[in-house]
Subunit: 122 residues, 2 copies
């Protein structure tokens, strides 16, 4: 048997998943909008991670067979139940960013700072 942590890590395991979920949660649900909100992600990788989230039952994909073609991702109930955790992680990071920046080397993803539908997310 594995402990609960295992499943959660498995689900959130992916460089951009938490960010994608956060994006969807603040109503950025179309692929092209996500690409704009998360500058460093690439289309390919985003699709792969979204597909995994979908297979894990965290998000659902809805295709509108209209023109122009439109696709929207939404959080499932299960996915929504992850938000408190994601928000707590985000909060913890913010609370300690000043310190963490000094001990963590690398450069990384981008940040929020609301705006319109064009704000960056993570």
């Amino acid at each position: 048997m594995e402990c609960g942590l295992h499943f959660t890590k498995e689900v959130l395991n992916g460089k951009w998943k938490a960010g994608l979920l956060k994006a969807i949660s603040i109503d950025i649900k179309r692929p092209s909008d996500m690409l704009r909100a998360i500058p460093d992600i690439t289309k390919r990788v985003m699709n792969v991670q979204l597909r995994e989230l979908e297979q894990h039952g965290i998000v659902t994909k809805k295709i509108y067979h209209q023109l122009p073609l439109k696709v929207e991702y939404s959080l499932t109930e299960l996915g929504a139940s992850l938000l408190p955790i994601i928000n707590a992680m985000n909060q913890w990071g913010e609370n300690n960013r000043a310190y963490l920046q000094t001990v963590i080397a690398k450069d990384a993803p981008v940040l929020p700072e609301l705006d319109e539908k064009r704000r960056k997310v993570c």
Copy 2:
């Protein structure tokens, strides 16, 4: 700038880190005890991950220059502040394990189920 999520993921990023922190939090703080508590981890990897946690200011290492040699890891205040998140992740996983097991393939780490100091952790 990066969003808070980034830092938190960076800190928890490592196959065994959350499990190690959980172990320390339930008073399994000696390396050899951790190895017994987390069956699948190897000494080498455990040391590497503990060192990263230490460099990130999440745990502290105390060496007792006594005989037999004794080493103990403890959570720093910062590390302790991560526990609510780790516990929430653990809880979420437990709450949804029945379902998650059906959508996640791989096999993984081990689980808790208290005992003495020999209980397995994660």
